[in-house]
Amino acid sequence: MVGFLILLIAFVLTFPLYGGAYPTRVLIVMLMYTVLAVSWAMFSGTTGYMSLAPAAFFGTGIYSTALLQHYLPFPVIIVIAGLISFVLAFLLGLVTLRLKGIYFTIFSFGLVVFIGNTINYVEAEIFGRHGWIFEALDRTMLLYTMLGLAVVTVLAAYFISRSRLGLAMRSIGGNEEAAEHMGVNTTRIKVLTFAISAIFMGAAGVVVAPSLSYSNSGIAFSVTYSFIPIVAAVLGGMGQLHGPIIGALVFGFLEKTLKATLLTYFMLGFGIIMVVVILFLPNGLIGLVPILRDKLGGVIQKLRKGGQAEQHADT
């Protein structure tokens, strides 16, 4: 897995040498989905609290860029958007994370719709404004920034999962009542980790904004960005860290390459792929690895690790 990630990073770093403008944008989106999926799985995959709020934090990032792009340097905006998302998620968590199951999910979804519509109303009614234009930035810089963000997100997810925070989150996912009775301050852990995961979503919004060239509240707070991380995580497999990474890369690649040419057929086809994955691969695409390893025995032993996972994921 580590080998696969290093290869991937090397690939992205060298990509501007031979990749064109559109492929670079595809790669940026693939990495953005990786950030969203990994940060979503960091919280929801481990605690079992299915959040539909990613679009709220992602949109916060886009709007941070829209409002601050002429006043502050790009890296500062990334940090600010991360902080705003953290605070927003923290407050939202305080209110909603006492809710269980479907109620939390619906509330988090409602937040996305609420923020999007409120901003739309305020913009249109008070400022008479419809959307924002983004200053174009160098696409190689954007690619590298998104890569850096993805690496930071994956590292954060890795270290959190190995820390006592990760243990507490898994115990909440396993049995929240027992966790609370074993001394885990479940409310604090949930609110804190929900807020941490939101940092990366907000930052992703900032980094992707310049390549959108135009955005409005409907685009920035589109609920699509709440569902994509879940789809990617389920596709790749939520059980392990590399599942959401693989799922996001595969989904992003398929979406950006096939959707343009096949349109509705893509969504139809992808729907079928999802059904097949859910029915036959409850552990996602990464679940293929042990299955194939068992089937093929030692033959592929040497070919194992990440490269293989990607290969199968692409088929």
Partner: protein, 245 residues
Amino acid sequence: MPILEGQGVTKYFGGLAAVSNVDFHVDRGEILGLIGPNGAGKTTLFNLISAALPASSGEIRFKGQKLNGLKPHQICRMGIARTFQEIKVFPNMPVLQNVLVGAFFGSPKRVSGADAAGEASQALEFVGLSAVSTAPVKDLTLVSQKRVEVARALAAKPELLLLDELMAGLNPAEVSEAMELVTRIRDKGITIIMVEHVMKAIMGISARVMVLHHGEKLADGTCNEIACNRKVIEVYLGEETHAGS
């Protein structure tokens, strides 16, 4: 001074008093058996002590300190750990990690990784589960899962342990093993309250027994006093004394 004391402890569910005006105490180092027919309020009393439920009225004190208004994780950190009647493990986590949760979070101080690991493997050793420490708990038998709960509670270093029907569903050989385990826990200096329907176990190892019936305390005394108590025989034990069965 008793380690745990309750005065007028009452819990209503709607109009129904699940626990009604119960006074009780537990002395340090003893095993208190808690018995009574199904629905008598035994588990509710456990839930009140461990703060899973807020009491409607009355007061519970642990080492002289009032527990009212505290959260379950605070109760645990004060030194009261529990197991559950219906097993509540972390099913997908390995046995050792289940126990690590107790070791890391169950004590009021910040525990280092090495200390927690040591505490956890010691607890597993104590309940006899060292051999399966890397297996996911869901793959274990019922008996072993109950032992994981005990180990997890012990890793939190409690002074008082609440065991809710540890022996339910166990065969006679397993009951004997469980009795031996509970005795060894007591010998470590941990005070125990155990809810149990297996009379042989209760009578075999408890210093005292408290009987609940319809949420009220029916009797309280040594095993012999309880086994001969008219009212207890009528509502629970039946005419022939069940002390031996």
